[in-house]
Amino acid sequence: MATLHGEGFRPVTYLFMTGLLLFTLILCLCVGSVMIPLADTFDVLWSALKGNPSGTQAHQSILLHVRMPRVLCVGLSGAALSLGGAAMQGLLRNPLAEGSTLGVSSGASLGAVLAIALGLSIPGIPLVGTAAMAVLFAFMSLMLILSLSLVLDKSLSTNTLILVGVVFSMFVSSIINIVIALFSKKLHSITFWTMGSLAGSSYADAAMLAVALLLSGLVLFPLAEELNAFAVGEQNAQHVGVSVKRVKLITMISVCVLVGVCVAVGGTIGFVGLVVPHIVRLIFGPNHKRLLPGAAFLGAVFLLLSDLAARTLFRPAELPIGVVTSLVGAVVFVSILFRSRKAAQS
């Protein structure tokens, strides 16, 4: 019997998704402005793992110091943003809810910009201050956006949430510009950060993303059944015995950690948390036992392929990764909007 309780993926599906992810990772390592043959890539990686780097100096440099940290950060960001989007959409019962549409990413950006402007950092690990402020501001923004939406519309409808998200993002954008004007000495660092890119990512960035993903994953995956209950309806969730306030708070904090750290590392990358859960839902259904792991795996694959497209489509010029995700995201966004409007009319 298929139930909401025991509906996780079979091991073979996990195996397939892991294979797909590894294939994409290897592809992204080999392909770029400089093409590196597969055998050379394996040779460099294997010898590096053994602690005895070999292969040409150029290949070593490109693979180990440029592409590997970037690919790791892209994959982890994709997984984190998709996982956060899937959880948020279940919690709010709204398929259009995610960091960038809700305005949470903008809030996180403001936190990060303030951290840079005020020089908030921990010696040795400078990005931690930016990430902590981004997470804090993401959470405060989410609280503000949801409170405002609730005052306007108790049902938290799609239109209200998106409208409040857009207005909030514009408001935050103005504040960021004011901060930039006030802290003109930090203009270079702030501008560099606001351009947002995963191009110069380091292993330290990847480690921070991995920790955030691991911690939030450990919190969110066991909440799959509770998120199913929320996705059916918050009132119904309470009636079947879900501790709604606790689950809401834990989920929101976890999502803000994911969005905040991603924004601190690579700036705002829109629509990832919207596109991937939508596709996963179409393939595997809305059950969060499948949706959450599916979104994490395919989110990594999606962002890796988007980054690959951004790097290679107009070689040697490089597009910002957000351009690719937004191109795909805008189409999916409109299709979801049409579907939900159609469903509401019927």
Binding site: V232, Q235, G241, S243
Partner: protein, 253 residues
């Protein structure tokens, strides 16, 4: 006593929608909460279900509901809401199986040996067995109502709280659902509280009644002593019994 409400009051801003309502519900009783629109019936049900903030005290099987864990309360109280707005295309059986959530324990101790059997039974009982794989987004209002009723049956609580249980149902299913609830109630240690608009249904199936007007409980007790011509006339400001008889007379051959 299975359920006790003591001096329940609910305010929305400056407006008092429930004012000092008290009642008891014992095993085997079916309490019908009736009254005109805006009387506070659904608010009363929401307060008992702990989904509306209230003043006063609700005791379920001897324990203060306000301090009970959500899972424990759900094993005692099953709630069927009046309207259902489902966000995603879960299958009927997935929604019904959600009724077993409170019985499963936490993620590391998730066991519910009776769960599968209860879900199967609930699906068959409500006639939703044939539609079990169908997405809830494609169901009619009546089918959706039966799906959530099946969820409450799968939940297997001691007390049922039903807000207009025959909402969206045609007459055939209305009769079947009321018969099902009556059958469910015939098991020992169970009780039902339901909000109903149809006074004939209230009179036919209720053992007890609570007649409400403008947030107050104006009459309560055994059903036929509460739902009298005079009491109803005073609350509804019309000859309710006369009107029901007039409606029925159109079918006289």
């Amino acid at each position: 006593m299975m359920l006790t409400a003591q001096s329940l009051s609910v305010r929305y801003g400056e407006r008092t929608v429930l004012n000092n309502v008290s009642f008891d519900l014992d095993a085997g009783q079916w309490l019908m909460v009736v009254g005109p629109n805006g009387a506070g019936k659904s608010t009363l049900l929401g307060a008992i279900a702990q989904s509306v903030p209230y003043k006063g005290k609700v005791t379920v099987l001897g324990q203060d509901a306000r301090h009970m864990r959500a899972r424990k309360l759900a094993r005692m109280l099953g709630v069927l809401a009046q309207n259902h707005r489902v966000g995603y295309g879960f299958s009927v059986e997935e929604v019904v199986a959600l009724g077993r959530y409170a019985h499963r324990g936490h993620v590391f101790a998730a066991r519910d040996p009776k769960g599968e059997e209860m879900v199967e039974h609930a699906l068959k009982l409500t006639g939703m067995d044939a539609l079990r794989k169908q997405s809830v987004l494609t169901l009619s209002g009546g089918e959706l109502q039966r799906t959530f009723l099946a969820q409450v049956f799968a939940q297997n609580p001691d007390i049922l709280l039903l807000d207009e249980p025959s909402n969206h149902l045609d007459l055939k299913y209305q009769r079947e659902i009321y018969a099902l609830i009556a059958q469910w109630l015939s098991q020992p240690g169970r009780a039902v509280l339901s909000v109903v608009h149809d006074l004939s249904l209230a009179r036919k199936y209720g053992t007890h009644a609570l007649l409400m007007e403008a947030g107050h409980a104006v009459h309560q007790g055994v059903c036929h002593q509460v739902l009298t011509r005079d009491n109803l006339q005073a609350v509804y400001d019309m000859d309710v019994v006369g009107w029901l008889k007039e409606l029925l007379s159109v079918w006289a051959e």
